[in-house]
């Protein structure tokens, strides 16, 4: 196993997703909540989430609820990792320097 590739191709939609998570880096968000915050369509949103997860910026897990008692299916929750938080912070900090990381 080599070192995992952590570089992610930045796009406007990716930045908006990262921005949504940077509001509260410890918060776990489902895809539907990211959609509500960013307004990104599902066709674009889920590939971005998977891409960032593959790069190690996000981790995901199933919501720890009982679907029968909750009356709804469990959701997949995403959360920024420390690596993702550092990279995302660098990306947004580079905007202040006028350079995109």
């Amino acid at each position: 196993m080599g070192k995992k590739e952590t570089r992610v191709r930045m796009s406007l939609q990716t930045l908006r997703v990262l921005e949504a998570f940077l509001e509260n880096p410890t918060e776990q968000l489902a895809g539907a909540e990211v959609h509500q915050r960013c307004g990104i369509a599902s066709g674009t949103l889920y590939p971005i989430l998977l891409r960032l997860e593959s790069a190690g910026w996000f981790v995901s897990q199933w919501e720890s609820i009982d679907p029968s008692s909750a009356g709804r299916p469990r959701r997949r929750l995403y959360r920024l990792t420390s690596t993702g938080l550092r990279h995302a912070s660098e990306v947004f900090a580079s905007f202040n320097r006028g350079v995109l990381a």
């Binding site: 590739e5 895809g31 889920y46 190690g56 897990q61 959701r75």
Partner: protein, 310 residues
């Protein structure tokens, strides 16, 4: 009744949405298929309207296509859930995008090179084939080449044909009847002792008595056309005037024997042309030159005056 219809429509849309999500998840890589289907169905619950849910399902179809493109089949291990709150790395077992990016980049590079190559070929074609370069005519180099000597006339073979030496042309001697005319010719002769001899004064050369011929020059006679009839209309408008001197050769009957010519022009070509026309028109109306009262062929000049009346 309407509520039933609404319900049936809602149920139809709902089933269609679920079917689309199921198909989209099924199209995704196997290791992600069940996860995505469950995730999308859970997120579908947050959609308030059926139309919004349908849009979400269509988006999931598109997302599955993108995911399949980015995560080729057989390269994506199953995504294992990560415990909440764990500070570990990313979800283990996911495909590293290095190779994928490389392939994608390679495909994109190939397309880029193909487009660049097409442009280069088109540019080359424009420069070489389609562009017009004027050809420069280069004259052939002068070369001195020995030429075979031309055979002289005596070396030439005899030309077959009739012998021209045998041809004899017999021309009958013309018989010309010359009318007898009494022509006085002034021929200077030797001084004789004849009565008509004139004795010259001493010191002067002897003068012989000559016969003086009374010559009366001809000219336009009766019935000669009027000059006004031949006055060019253009010259009248431009008030052109002048005198053109024309020479004519007339026979004894006053007819032209040769084409009249302009001896001295008026300075206006139109008037000179008109004078020549007048001279031609007057053929037969010329007064012949007389010598001792006898009309003779002669050439003389006369002036044609073109003058406008004031």
């Amino acid at each position: 009744m309407s509520q039933r219809n609404e319900r049936s429509k809602h149920a139809a849309l709902n089933s269609a949405t679920h079917w689309l999500i199921h198909q989209a998840a099924h199209r995704a890589p196997e290791t992600l298929s069940s996860r995505l289907e469950e995730e999308w169905l859970a997120d579908l619950e947050s959609r308030s309207t059926a139309l919004s849910a349908l849009r979400f399902a269509v988006g999931c179809c598109w997302a599955s296509l993108v995911i399949v493109n980015e995560y080729p089949r057989g390269r994506v291990p199953a995504a294992s859930p990560v415990a909440a709150g764990s500070a570990g790395g990313p979800a283990s077992g996911f495909f590293t995008p290095t190779e994928r990016n490389f392939r994608y980049f390679s495909l994109r590079s190939a397309t880029l090179f193909l487009i660049a190559g097409l442009h280069a070929a088109l540019f080359y074609g424009l420069i070489t084939t389609l562009s017009h370069t004027p050809s420069i005519a280069v004259p052939p180099r002068l070369q001195n080449q020995p030429v075979a000597p031309v055979p002289r006339a005596k070396d030439l073979p005899p030309v077959a044909g009739p012998d021209l030496k045998d041809w004899t042309i017999h021309v009958p001697k013309p018989v010309i009847d010359v009318p007898k005319m009494d022509i006085d010719v002034d021929v200077p002769g030797e001084p004789t002792d004849k009565p008509n001899e004139v004795i010259s004064e001493p010191g002067l050369p002897p003068v012989t008595k000559s016969h003086l011929v009374q010559r009366l020059a001809g000219g336009p006679g009766t019935g000669f056309p009027e000059t006004a009839e031949f006055y060019p209309s253009h010259s009248i408008r431009l008030a052109e005037e002048g005198i053109s001197t024309v020479q004519v050769c007339v026979d004894t009957r006053g007819r032209l024997t040769t084409e009249p010519t302009t001896v001295k022009g008026s300075g206006i070509e139109r008037l000179d042309e008109a004078a020549l026309k007048l001279a031609r028109a007057g053929s037969g109306h010329y007064r012949a030159t007389t010598e001792d009262g006898q009309p003779v062929n002669s050439c003389y000049a006369f002036g044609v005056r073109f003058q406008l009346r004031k």
